[in-house]
Subunit: 152 residues, 8 copies
């Protein structure tokens, strides 16, 4: 059963997010990817958010570009933690996405990481750190990764 | 019956939006103000959006600060035109709100005006221009306003 | 008879605006494209603006890059609603165009959409929403488009 | 007869421009101030621009805030050189005005100076330098000013 | 025993962070506040990071202004998840802090929230969401808070 | 005898400035190009500035990238008007050059135009407008150019 | 004999620089403050730069706001290391000064520190670190300061 | 024995820094390059910093992209002067790195140079200026370089 639900706004964002999915696999964390546009199909996103917890997800990752509302809308529909990944999908190279994700109003947080593929990787690692609080084997996998990182 | 539905994310934004409401009144356009946070109460915003048309609204104005998703979310729930007003409610003085409102993905437009109280006034005037396409008396009211403006 | 008048500042902007024209066609909305530089030929733009209404236009779309005054100047010459599309035609990638279009002074609004081709598409959709207030068949066409969008 | 025509968009900008007017006086340059909003009264601005030369102006200074189209529109109506002064009249503190003034498209230049009161002073000094090419006494006045400046 | 370790870079930041501490208390989450400058006393921050887990912390919150390295340095010394709060403590109003916190290189994530006091509140709520994955009573407290939020 | 002195900071900037030189030629204005780095050879720039007037120049154009001090330094050494052209020669794409040129302190103005090749063209046109105050044939050439521009 | 020459562009900047002077005193480093505007009196700045070394200065600190050319010009006239302090003296709050100081072209470096009073303090500390390479007692003074800093 | 210790965060940054290394060689300054990620291997960076002085380094250069903490962390572990070089290694083209390096809090300075390869060259030249205070032959080498620069 997938612990991490990954949502991207359109198929064209898949490549930018792939390094994050690879990282989840490397860390042995089950995930499921869905393509849902928060603006084009708000009903589907609502259902996804409302049922995320009963479906077994414990954390959500949402990636989007331009006016990147996806992570924030998702956060409004669930009590699970949501990690937001700003993508550089437009003329402003992601500074618009970053501000749209990180500057959430008090009350409904999104955990924002950096722009683009390194952000996607960090979203996976952050999910591992968070799940590691509860799951010993994920904690071990993350520690092993971090030790390797230090070796260079 | 109100033609214009005005939505603000929190009561603390009311003062910034007031000049826009005054303008609607001056132009003789009926409006109704609602306070709905897109992130704190997404269900209420959804209902507002889904029923906006049957309640008789023909155009919506939504004002918000920081990661200002309110106009975009509203636009996702309705087929009515949505005017977005970015407010300078935070440390970045509204550049975050502006980008969050204007950089909507292809498919779901928001009509963005300038930041703050002059933006709120222009939202009202834009609503008048738009409604003037259908309603002759609103067109006349707007023209009268514009003529006065030219006089100085 | 064309309901939408589209103005671009130079022929070199035509490609960036084309997706918006395609969208107007898809929605069955008649439009007419004019190439008028607001700065190089202000007299022609003035005449265009002053006669826009009597020629039957009900809404105008203006796209421009750099110091994008075109939508704002057009708005000064007409009482029709003007949608502004900022183009990334220069070293600053459209942030200059965006601010030049959206930060209009109180009194003369422009409805600004996002930068570039997705902005051009959204300008067309916004025009459809606005005209849909008056024209039932445009409202239907827009709804059909929006339903398709949700299907993905 | 005034050599310099100064245009401001609204009376509320008068204080920001005053140090520039004081500088013109100090340098013994005749000027005339007009309040004309480029957007609210485009006809008046057009007439001003078209008649500027026959009225004896040899250079124009235009100051404006937010989407500061005033100098650019003026430049479109005249062949006289136009100096633009961006004012910090809004939430973005003048960066919007600066880009709106300086990023003019190829073909219609505006000579942009810095934001705010020091910009207004420099507009006056630039006008003096420019008029000094033709008028020996203005050249002398400017040189005297510059020598004083060096003394501290 | 405190589950959340809160680190601020200097006592002068305490007021900006207080709303986040109040939120932790409201949600019944034990926390401990430390004042450690990442740059002035790197040894102390290292020890804090290295011992954070054995002292029982399960999540860390770090708030800082200007070149806000504190959350990132902390993340380098621990495998616990680190939430970063950018503070507007300087001339650039927090955009420097935001970029310094969120743009971490691939490998060492920080969960960034918005600038200032609303960011501090959201850091507390994000901590609650994260701890709620493991602790049922924190999940309940967070849900209760979220339900209240929706009521207005 | 050249009326316009054009200074560029390095030979690598020559291509970006060429459209401006072409424009000067088209308008029949004599010019002379010099390559002088304000920072690498301040003595040479000083001499250039101090002798610019006696050599017959009536206006100077200086183009530079990054921290573009060249126009400002030149302005400090001469009483001639200086037009500054910001070039996008670096990672920040010219926003650094633009601010370095336009934000001159009160007392020593630079007439700033837009970034890059369109800025270079506008520098030439601005020089023509300015020289046109004194030289009837340059005024005529500029008017002819402007009339052509309007034709399209 | 003063080892550090401090230059400010105008007396109005003195307060912003004072914390840096206090720091130099605390560290027992002799300094001399001069008020020289790089643009208003370039000759005086040139003489200052050319004679800085023979007067015994080993390092220079220059602070300026807006288009802050002062440190860069100084660096062009001397082979001594120059530390630049950007001041928030204008509408753009120092981002203009920062870019004008730090983005120097290859060949003529300036050592830039942060904006404002903390930048001024850091300029003093950086000078101490640099002079400490040669002077054992300054190294000791700096180490003592750094140890105190760690104590909090 | 190397006087200058150069640290880069990852091998992928080597090319951007190479022009700086070439410059050090040209000036006859011994240096040693190390690849140490401040975030991935903080222990190694700490040891590097703590031992930098006893190993004979008199100045350090650190280059990094994105949230470029490397120079600041290094500065926290040593009393040697640290020169920071922001690299454009990411979607925001180095403005994030620049702010992360230059906006250090009062107490722990970093000497920041410009973004990218010209910044790397200037870091080398700044190191030469600084070492030249103590070493006569480096001062001579730098002066010779500067004289060549002036020749063009």
């Amino acid at each position: 059963m997938a612990l991490v639900g990954v949502v991207i706004g359109s198929k064209s964002d898949a490549d930018l997010v792939q390094p994050g999915l690879d990282m989840l696999e490397r860390l042995g964390i089950d995930y499921e990817v869905s393509v849902i546009s928060g603006h084009r199909n708000p009903e589907k996103l609502r259902e996804y958010g409302l049922k995320a917890e009963e479906r077994g997800f414990e954390i959500l990752i949402a990636a989007a570009g331009r006016a990147a509302h996806l992570p924030g809308i998702l956060a409004s529909w669930t009590t699970l933690p949501v990690i937001g990944v700003p993508l550089a999908a437009g003329e402003l190279n992601g500074i618009d996405s970053l501000l749209s994700i990180v500057q959430m109003p008090a009350g409904v947080p999104v955990a924002c990481v950096g722009i683009g593929t390194s952000g996607a990787q960090n979203a996976a690692l952050l999910a591992a750190q968070i799940l590691g609080i509860k799951y010993e084997e994920i904690k071990k996998a993350y520690r092993k990764y971090k030790a390797k990182l230090a070796e260079g």
